[in-house]
Assembly symmetry: C2
Homo-oligomer: 684 residues x 2
């Protein structure tokens, strides 16, 4: 075990920025050579006896024996299925990506926070608009937020294992959390935190999905919409940890049963729930215990320097079951409809403790058995391993080395740490396999490090030691391994989520894709299998679930199904009840869609009429999706087989507007159309 602070002082304020840039400069020089001569240096060296049919292709394409093996390990023939599914946050695309492993094919983008017309998401359907506007800004005039910065997906869990039912994601940019139902892979709910505006540390679930956890990143006044100058940072700015109650039956967050815990204005970061022995506890990192407020334009140190001055930050230890009791006992304040446990109460009730972590920690990850909590300082070289039993002992014995300036007790570092393992420069996040190994992403070095845990989860020789590192291309953020953050990791595969690709792919302009690298961890040595460009967003975290845990619907279970309510809509149109009903300047239309026509095909209204359309795809065949677009009116629905949807609009533009099916649904798809005729109002 190394000493208290692994960073040895060489990353101090004045020194660390040059060091980081030096590391980067070296790395850039190193990789450019490869980029300039793609393919050079790859010598085919196939095993003796390889038949000509294979050898000829490999030699023509310059594939080495390792390349051939990687090709065969990742190729999925037509009609065969991938073994695992990645759910990747889409970063500032606002969406979620679904990717098959080992083929690394993008199976679907799930529209969440950003309107997406292919899926008919918030581009005309009243239901999807209602879901999206559920996350509106809570202050002043209505503002529908139309993008997000999605960071951490969390699959629902039962007993700490993925159950394949729901997926939760957060919006760092606006402090929102969304619920996706994995029966139809569609977003069902978006919740805006009424008191904070920034939530990097989300979403994380408790082991039976009792709660979805969201922590504030950048501290603001509490609530954020009450102005306070930065001079009052320590007094008025605060963080929050919010525990959203999940109603699994309804498939929705129940805000009325959710609560927040007030926190000091550090920048709370990622969390992980305790599991098995440590169930009932949650661990969240933080940075900026300096409470730096930046101000480079006033001559103050910039945030990058001010936030990184101290040798250690605080890992937050929450007793969430105790917090739930305190909340249920009513020891809370109401703040804009959210119950908030005051910081003093959290301290007094034994809900919150700190542990020091060197230095500027990012990830925190609990081992599959729940015994250890691993945190890594991104300006450190170690993974620091805390023992849950030691934490419990320290709490029981009030073994603290002080309090922070808000009175939160700080557990004695030396008595809660189990080990510090030398990993490399800039360790971030850790996942696990089934054999007692940990896999940590190392950002500054651009490597993935495999290392051994210790007893009781690993009982072999050389515990708490580095095993192997593999270079990645480049700048790895998170790493994900197969079910690697659950109580039962699978091993087999890890994916390095690299933020930069630089020279790995054909150039596509100044905005480069990210690079997901699939790594085989089943053998003696880690083997790079595949580079997948992500040219549609910047994923931050990913979870990898066994495909057979997912049981999605292939079509909606009944005709007239409303995906928002997940039941048959009593207002849905059906074959035989198609009609147009006028009442004053209100026009209601019930419309069916089937290959290859809509009914009705002619809709004549007056300019200014309020039009409501109920459109149902009455098909039962798998993949028989219909679109429904009205030209010039910003309306496009995607109606999967059985789906019913509602459209509401004012017919404000006069003229003749074709509507049509935007899916190539049949040989006669171009003929699946009709006309909306809008008679001009006399005055227009």
């Amino acid at each position: 075990m190394s000493g208290y602070l692994g960073c040895k002082g060489y990353l101090k304020y004045l020194g660390f920025i040059p060091v980081l840039f030096l590391a980067l400069a070296v790395f850039m020089t190193g990789c450019r050579g490869q980029g300039d001569e793609p393919g050079k240096g790859q010598q085919p060296s196939l095993a003796a006896g390889t038949p000509d049919s294979i050898r000829q292709i490999a030699e023509a394409r310059g594939l080495s024996q390792k390349d051939v093996e990687a090709a065969l390990k990742t190729y999925i023939p037509s009609g065969r299925f991938d073994e695992y599914v990645l759910f990747a946050s889409g970063g500032h695309s606002g969406q979620v990506f679904v990717i098959g492993v080992p083929s690394m094919r993008l199976l679907k983008t799930i529209a969440v926070f950003t309107p997406e017309p292919w899926q008919g998401w918030a581009t005309g359907s009243a239901e999807t608009h209602e879901i999206l506007t559920g996350g509106d800004m809570p202050i002043g005039e209505n503002r529908t937020l139309n993008w997000a910065d999605v960071h951490h997906p969390a699959l629902s869990e039962t007993d700490g294992d993925y159950d394949g039912q729901f997926l939760f994601v957060n919006d760092k940019a606006n402090a929102r959390v969304a619920v996706i139902d994995l029966r139809d892979f569609e977003t069902k709910q978006i919740v805006k935190n009424p008191n904070t505006i920034s939530d990097h540390g989300a979403s994380f679930v408790t082991p039976n999905t009792e709660y979805i956890i969201e922590t504030t990143q950048y501290a603001t006044p509490l609530p954020f919409h009450e102005y306070a100058p930065l001079e009052e940072y320590k007094e008025k700015y605060r963080g929050l940890a919010t525990f959203y109650k999940f109603d699994r039956e309804k498939g929705r967050i129940d805000e009325s049963k959710s609560f927040s815990i007030e926190l000091p204005p550090y920048w709370q970061d990622l969390c992980d729930s305790g599991k098995k022995v440590s169930d009932g506890w949650v661990f969240c990192n933080s940075i900026n215990v300096e409470m730096a407020t930046g101000g480079i334009n006033h001559g103050a140190p910039p945030f990058e320097a001010g936030v990184s001055q101290k040798e250690a930050d605080y890992l937050h230890v929450f007793n969430w079951k105790k917090a739930e009791e305190v909340y249920k006992a009513g020891k809370v304040n109401d703040l804009n409809g959210m119950s908030v446990i005051p910081l003093d109460t959290a301290i007094a009730e034994g809900i919150l403790y700190f542990m020091t972590v060197p230095k500027s920690p990012h990830g925190v990850d609990v081992t599959p058995d729940g015994n250890f909590i691993i945190a890594s300082g991104k300006l450190d070289t170690h993974a620091t391993v805390y023992s849950f039993n030691k934490i419990m002992d320290a709490i029981k014995n009030n073994n603290v080395e002080g309090k922070d300036e808000y009175g939160v007790p700080i557990l004695t570092f030396a008595d809660v740490v189990e080990a510090q393992v030398e990993i490399g420069l800039g360790p971030l996040h850790t996942q696990f396999d089934a054999d007692g190994n940990a896999y940590t992403s190392v950002f500054v070095e651009s490597t993935l490090a495999k290392w051994r845990l210790g007893p009781p989860i690993y009982n072999g020789p050389d515990p708490w030691t580095l095993v192997e590192k593999i270079p990645v291309q480049y700048n790895i953020g998170h790493v994900v391994c197969a079910e690697g953050d659950t109580v039962a990791p699978d091993g087999k595969y890890c994916v390095a989520l690299n933020k930069w690709s630089i020279d790995r792919f054909l150039p596509v302009g100044p905005l480069h894709p990210q690079n997901f690298q699939l790594i085989d961890i089943s053998g003696e040595n880690m083997q790079l299998l595949y580079d997948m460009p992500i040219g549609v967003g910047e994923p931050h975290y990913v979870q990898m679930v066994k495909a057979d845990k997912l049981k999605p619907w292939l079509v909606y279970p009944e005709v007239g199904f409303n995906p928002m309510t997940m039941s048959v809509d009593p207002e849905a149109a059906s074959v035989g009840n198609e009609k147009i009903v006028r009442d004053g300047n209100t026009v209601k239309i019930w419309m069916s869609a089937i290959r290859s026509h809509f009914n009705p095909e002619h809709i004549t209204v007056n300019q200014g009429d309020k039009v409501t359309m109920y459109v149902t795809n009455v098909e039962r065949a798998r993949d028989a999706t219909h679109g429904f677009a009205i030209e010039g009116y910003n309306i496009n629905l995607s109606l999967e087989p059985g789906e019913a949807s509602k459209v509401e609009f004012i017919a404000d533009k006069p003229g003749v507007f074709p509507f049509y099916c935007t899916e190539f649904c049949s040989a006669l798809h171009l003929e699946m159309m009709g006309y909306l005729l809008v008679k001009p109002s006399p005055g227009s």
Copy 2:
């Protein structure tokens, strides 16, 4: 050569719908069996002598010899580049997808018509909003169209060959055309047609990109925003062919030098430009020469029946060089700022002729030598081949078999047809290889058909005959082959753009991905290599260009570069000129971004202030992109190295709003932030 009408009457109105459903039902039954047992029936049968290292992987994964070959033909090792690039229209996603071949990896999504926050597209930057609103609706109050149905990408051409400079795409749903610059892979211009609202037949270019061609799909009154009832369809509804002049120097469409040609209210469909011998002419298909107006809700035949009653439709033959002369001579009407050549003038001046095509044709494709024009009726079984020389003779000799009811001369079918080749049921689109073969997508059959052309482009045995068909999974729309619609096709690869995937991929809910299937056409027989799911849109057409024709920038050429003007912005912020300037209730801010800070970091304004920010990423390193998001304010920029952008907003919400870099740009990316503090106005 077959007789006049290849469809032999069995697809007549009363009969064809059941026939199509029968075909579909059989096919559905056939494919379901495969879906229920993925992987079954695949027997590894590797060539004798295959070494154990390869055999073990192949057997463990159930790969046959053919699978192994396909894997090796498509695998790209890390850092090696794909050989071709697909530019795929994104259908109703409104975007364009860039895909590498043979790996079939999605390299990038180009934001075009739909806001996309990862790229900072129309989510805060004033420049991108200006480009998007360039395509606003031309009538009444402003309505920014926020989605599109992108159908046909067209790469810019020089002498009929791709030159890698620009890409044009259309929006079928709103009749718009966009220009993408392939130096930075960003959209530069969106143009709304002021007179039509529906433009399936676009974009197509003339051989030196003189014009970008757009034809109306669904006829409307001319202009579409003048109401006329469907009873006046024949009198008042019209189609248009619009020729947008492209200014290659400026990289923009010049609307002031563009013109339209008035057309009968048939539904004009796809086009292709003549090339080489046929340069100067454009060929566009049409359907609905019946001028059916539907009305199932009034007891009239639905469009799907009414549009398909006749045995033949009209292929439009345009003399665009003559049209340009007529336009320049001023023989036009002005209609909402667009010069329109009246239909009578087009006829009188010899600009427009018709040729009959059996039946409900869709695609039209000119052979690489320019000698033949191939059209296929989707309710027919043939590819009908027209001879350009015969067309010229017929025009010269006024060899017509009649006129349509608007007076357009119809060239005598028997005298312009070179051949009719029996292909299969539902042929749609045709591409070419370098050896005189054509590849036609056959929708109803779900096959790709390879067939021989004839002299002078193919001079071997058995001209105009089918060679081979390969099944595809399922419902192929377009097909693309390597440079397969240019004067110099490459052969090697085709991609089948299948609209349905059904059982090909892991289920991801009721909305299934499309399926791009890569097919090796270099050998004796076509070989299916790879299934690529498209889970992010519904591509319609694709072009495949040799990667080395593209010369994109890796970073912007200078710091302070404005991608909209493609030059250094005189207002751009730079290091040293960062500042905040207040003038009344207007606040202007010049901000720089570099790893890992913004300058300024503190911005304090009053509620209601009008804020303008000039933000520059001053980095020069490849991939050193910075984001710039203001929380709660719907603002996110993507600033590539060197890029400058402008943000304008009203600080209408009081409170404290962190701003931060949304790219994981460095180890200290979380620290790259600042605060926007909005003091509440006294009255709020």
